[in-house]
Structures are given as C-alpha cells and as structure tokens.
Amino acid sequence: MVQVTSPAFKQNAARALADAGLQKALGKAKGAFLQRRAEAVARLPEFEALRDIGRDIKNHTLANLDFYLETYAANVERAGGTVHWCSTADEARAAVLGICQRAGARTVTKGKSMISEEIAVNDHLEKHGIEPVETDLGEYIIQLRREHPSHIIAPAFHLNREDWEADFRRMHTDLDPNRVFNERRDILAEARTKLRSRFLAADVGITGANFLIAETGSSVIVTNEGNGDLTQTLPRVHIALASIEKVVPTLEDATSLLRLLARSATGQDFSVYTTFSTGARRPGDLDGPEEYHVVLIDNGRSNMIGSEFQDMLRCIRCAACMNHCPVYGATGGHAYGWVYPGPMGSVLTPSLVGIDKAALLPNASTFCGKCESVCPVKIPLPNLMRHWREREFERHLTPATVRRNLGLWAWFAKRPQAYRIATRLAVGALKLLGGRKGSFRSLPLAGGWTEGRDLPVPEGGTFMARYAQQQRKR
C-alpha cells in the first residue's frame, strides 16, 4: 500500500499552511466547486429526496452484500469476463501483474482510480518492467511529478496553472521550449497530443469503477475527458479495479445514484461520459477488448460490515465532503498522509490502515457538520469521526497531557458544585488579569490556544450565575 504519513498530520498541516503556492491553488479551486454544486442542486428540486433514496439503496445493498457480490460475479462470467477476488492489496497487485504478464504487456494505460492508488499498483508494475501511463489529465501531471493525488476527483487540486506549464516544459522536451501557453486549453491540447500515441500503443487498459451492477455484471466509469473510455476500449485487455462496496443491484439503482454523483462532485447535471462495460468483445463487434477482467478488492472493507463504521461503505467518492471542509480547505489533501483526504478520508483511513497510524485524522475536524449536510448518501461523518476518537481514547492512543486534562475536566464535570466554584474562580481570575484589554495575547497553560488566536476576556459571570440571575428576575 501507499506509505502512510498520517501520524505526521500536524507537521504536514503546518507545512501546508506555510506553502504559498498551495494556498493560492486552494483559494482558487474551492469556490468553483462549491458554487457549481449549489447551482446544480438548485436546478433539481428532488435532490433532497434523492439523497434519502441513495442512502437506502446503499444500505439495502450492504445488508445483502454477499448475495449481490455473488450475483454480480456470476453475471460477469456469463458475459465472458473473469472476476479475481482479492482479500488484500498484495493479492490485487499480483492479480493485475499476472494478467498483464500473460498478455505480454509492455505499456499499460490507466484511467483515474483511487483503489489503484490504494493498492499502489503502478509501483508494482514498474518494478516488473511494465510501464503504467496515467491518462486522466490530473493523474498525468501527478505521475510526471512523482506525487500522489491531493483530491479524490481532482488529483491536481494543489497545483496552479504555472505549475502545469513548468512541468510540461520540463517533461515534454521534444516540443519547442519557447512555445506559449496562452490559455488553459493549450495545456489540455498538449496533453491530448502527448497521450494519444500512448492510448494507441497500450497492451492493457486499467480503469476503476464507480459502480458494479449485479443485475447485468457491468462495471461503470464516470469521466469528463473520455480518457477512461479510450483506456478500456483500445487495448486488447481491459482490467477494471473495484472495491467490494461498489456493487449495486440494478441499472435503476445505479441511475438514482448517478443523479447524485456528478451534481455533488463537479456540479454538473451529468458527467460527459458514463459508460457501462459488460464482458469482452462480442461476435461481430468491430472494436473493444478481447479480454475483460474485474479485480474485486476487499482490503479491509469487509471488517467494516456490522461495525459502527458500516455507513462509510455507502460512500460514492464524489468529494463534496472535502470540497466543503474548512480543514481540507486550509491544508489540502496531502497533509492527510494517505490516499483518501478530507472528512471521508478521516473516517475511512483509520478503518483501512489502523487507528494507531491515523488517530490524528478524526481529530482534524471542527465538527461543523457541513460534510454530513452535503453528503449525497447522508453518511454521518462527524459522528463516525467521534466514534474513532472514542476508540483512540480507549486504546490509550491519545497523548498523555490530553488524557490528564480530560480526566481533570471529567472529575469536575461529574461534581456540579465543584465545577461551578472552579469556573467562577477561573472567570474571576481571567477578568482580573485581562482587565480592559479585552483579550489575551498569551496565557500560561493555554499556549496551544493563544499561539494561533487571542483568547477573549470573559464578560459577565459564568453561565450558571447568569441563568440564576435571570430566574430571580422573573
């Protein structure tokens, strides 16, 4: 799997906040997604009702996941495809490599796939002499830069136009070094030209899957560029990578979820290409792959079934939660230290890599609740993050000073009389110390707070004192 740097979230975040280029990119990009989503939702009065439907479809599927996976796999094979069941990332990598080697592959084109990042299949192929070529525009530049995606639907969320131009000049050395990029579309045109020959030369095409359909044995990809379709249509072999929770029962179920997906993601009513693949080339077909494989990956998800984190498996990877998250908006995706950033990552990452490595992520939230309010399948993300905080505390992963102070607070909280006396004393002391300044620049024992902001001087008495005063007035 991809290296986990989540334990260094605080350092990662501090670095991100000081990175002027990143801050510029975040500032520019975020507003665009928020506004477009809001407009798309406003155009569809049924959007709220569809969210309930989306939640129910996913819940029904998860409650019968074994049945739908078996039905799906049987229908894939009936359509002439092959399903490779993989419990771990290792197994999935081996399955992909095996298919590529049997096909005698030298180059492999790839559509954007987060599960492919999760199992780090590119490194594995390269190690065995097979060249993977990312074809999604964002993934393409990320691969040129040897980075990881910082966003689940916009991999190059952290880059500015200047970065694109500089990287293209650096990497496309066969082109005129003095060429001018007047517009964003000039960058796009250069990538199109560069990648066209790679599409045509590839022996195997690897895509992800937004949905798997049990009824028909189909895998579904959703893209705007058409790169995923070129990837799965032109080479002799198509491999679809999919995690087990992608399955839905029928075309109608997928359709209802598709009405939510693009609107929540990019704010489009529908993505440009929504494509259903079912098996390999049929007799009489003039194009399409001769082999069709599905690598069906668990990698920790089946353990979430029946746990308090099962709701997370409803996720359709639209990225609305991270687009609306103030923490993501400040740090970007790389700070989260693994494949999935933002609120959905803060819940999913501990499930997949272990809370011992990812304990800081569920704490990287203000619990403002925006993520839950925009989630198309109504995942209670703040609540799930709170479950992780509880687990973190139970397993003594919380730092000693935090535990001690929480213990101290709990002692008072359970003794209302003592709590009132203590808060009255504290408020009085702060008023006395603060005087007429209005706020503290720094305060002993509260350095963590005052380092980033001032602490206001308390006004009036404690809540309980003022409440009692009001009661007496009546």
């Binding site: 069941w85 598709l258 009513d269 079912t278």
Partner: protein
C-alpha cells in the same frame, strides 16, 4: 480462498450465514422487477416539450443540434455542418443499415467509409440509439453496427438521432434496451448466452453502453472546465423529426430509407407534434 474469505467476513459482520432460500428469492425478485425510484419531474412533460428539453440540455452542455424533417435531408445537414466548421467533407460512418440507406449520392462531395474509427479519422458519424431529455444525454450502445471507437477517436462526432428515440428519463432508455436487447432488427444488441436479464433469461446488455452528455472536457486545471480533452472536441446531433405524433400525412411507421422518396410531400410543420407519451413506431423497421 479469497472469495470465501471475503464472503465469510461479510456474513460474520452481518451476523448470519448465507441467506436462506426465501430471502434469496425476494432479492431475485427485486433484480427481476428492477423497481424504479424517484424520477425527477423535469422530464415528465408532453412529447414536444421533452424534445425541447433535450435540445436545451444538449446546448447547455456545449453540444449542437440541427433538426431535419426528413431522412433525405441528413446527408445535406452533415455536409453543411462540416462546411460551417471548416472541416474536410470526409468521415468514418457507423456501419448501420439505417445510415447506409440514406441518399448519400445527393451529396457527391462527401467521402466516407463504413467501419470502426481509427486515430487518423477527423470526423465520425454515429447512429444514435436513444437519448435522454433529462440531461441532454445520448445513449450509444456498442454492437457490430455502432462501434464504440466512433464515440472516442475523432475530433468531431456527429450523431444521427430520431426524435422518436428521445426518452424523458434514463429509466425509459434502460427499459427500451431491455425490450429490444435481443431483437435482431435493432442491429443485434446483446448476444444469446452472454448477458442475462435475470427477469426472463434474455440477454440484453451490450458490451459497452456509453451515456454521452456533450463534448469531452476536463476540470483538472484549476478546477475550471475546458472543452477538448481526450474525446471529441465537438458533438453535433442531426435530429430527424419522426415522432409518430407529427401530422399523419405519410405512413408514420415507414422506415427512413423508404420514406425518403416521399420527402417532396412532407408536412410543413413537423416540429410541433401533439403530446404523446412514448413512441409506438418500431425503431428500425
């Protein structure tokens, strides 16, 4: 093995063994009846408005539409479009009988070959199977007569579509595909003993079904949508008005090739047909 391990872990999580027969039967029933969920009201409108909604949505997504009243006008409409775009009058054509039957000889300057697309093709002309008004989306299933590469490799894709094949919602297009899946007259979508519809054992799902909404684009550079990514830069729809609801001057179910000679007597205002839900005309008689 991994399959058993995964299914076993799921069942442990769900605190049960394999589903009992009666519950399996219930789920099989759900697959067989594939119930619809909520369909947005925007497409629940009379036929002419559905067609107008489709066109409006295509244009919103940067596609273009030209309407013709008769199949015989299609070659001319394609020639005009290519000329207006300063494109050479040369294209790869879907090897579909309905397209082959068009009076191409009327436009001798048009050069075309009926085959799959290659990287060198600048323009492709595809046969539109169906379309969805809700979002201005084309449904383009693959088969011997509608190669997938036509939707991908050329810089300009022209799709010939009949108004009678515009449905309101995706669900109606899926049901059309289910109904016609094994019908040889639709061009052989589905192949027996490949994909099976759980409902009645009929195969219906083509190898590839593309739902296409406008020309290719990307939002990967600073999250700003730019047209012209890896797929076609232009998507143009030549829309043939053939709704059976149009003035019944001619036999409504006539195939386009046969209808072509009757063009001279075509109805003057074919675009304002009466409201009608669903087309009863066979798609490709």
């Amino acid at each position: 093995m991994s399959k058993d391990a995964i299914l076993g872990a799921i069942r442990r999580g769900l605190k049960r063994g394999p589903l009992p027969a009666d519950q399996r039967a219930m789920l099989d029933g759900r697959l067989a009846t594939h119930p619809r969920h909520l369909i947005p009201a925007r497409s629940r409108v009379p036929r002419p408005e559905q067609i107008a909604l489709f066109i409006r949505n295509v244009e919103k997504e940067f596609g273009t539409v030209a309407r013709v009243a008769d199949a015989a006008e299609i070659p001319g409409a394609i020639a005009d479009y290519l000329a207006a775009q300063n494109l050479a009058p040369r294209f790869v054509l879907a090897p579909h009988p309905e397209l082959a039957a068009l009076p191409w000889a009327d436009k001798p300057l048009l050069e075309f070959e009926a085959r799959r697309a290659e990287a060198t093709d600048a323009v492709s002309v595809q046969h539109g199977y169906a379309a969805i008004a809700e979002t201005g989306t084309l449904m383009l299933p693959s088969d011997a007569t509608r190669p997938t590469t036509l939707n991908l490799l050329a810089e300009t894709e022209v799709v010939v579509l009949r108004t009678s094949r515009i449905m309101g919602a995706y669900e109606e297009a899926w049901d059309t595909l289910r109904r016609e899946g094994t019908d040889a007259t639709t061009g052989g979508i589905g192949t027996p003993s490949t994909t099976r519809n759980v409902a009645d054992g009929r195969p219906f799902m083509p190898r590839n079904v593309m739902l296409v909404t406008g020309p290719s684009r990307s939002a990967d550079i600073e999250q700003t949508l730019e047209l012209g990514a890896h797929g076609p830069r232009r998507l143009h729809i030549v829309l043939l008005d053939d709704d059976a609801a149009d003035p019944p001057a001619q036999a409504p179910a006539a195939a386009p090739a046969q209808a072509a000679p009757a063009a001279a007597t075509k109805a003057p205002t074919p675009k304002r047909g009466k409201a009608r839900t669903g087309s009863t005309a066979p798609p490709e008689a």
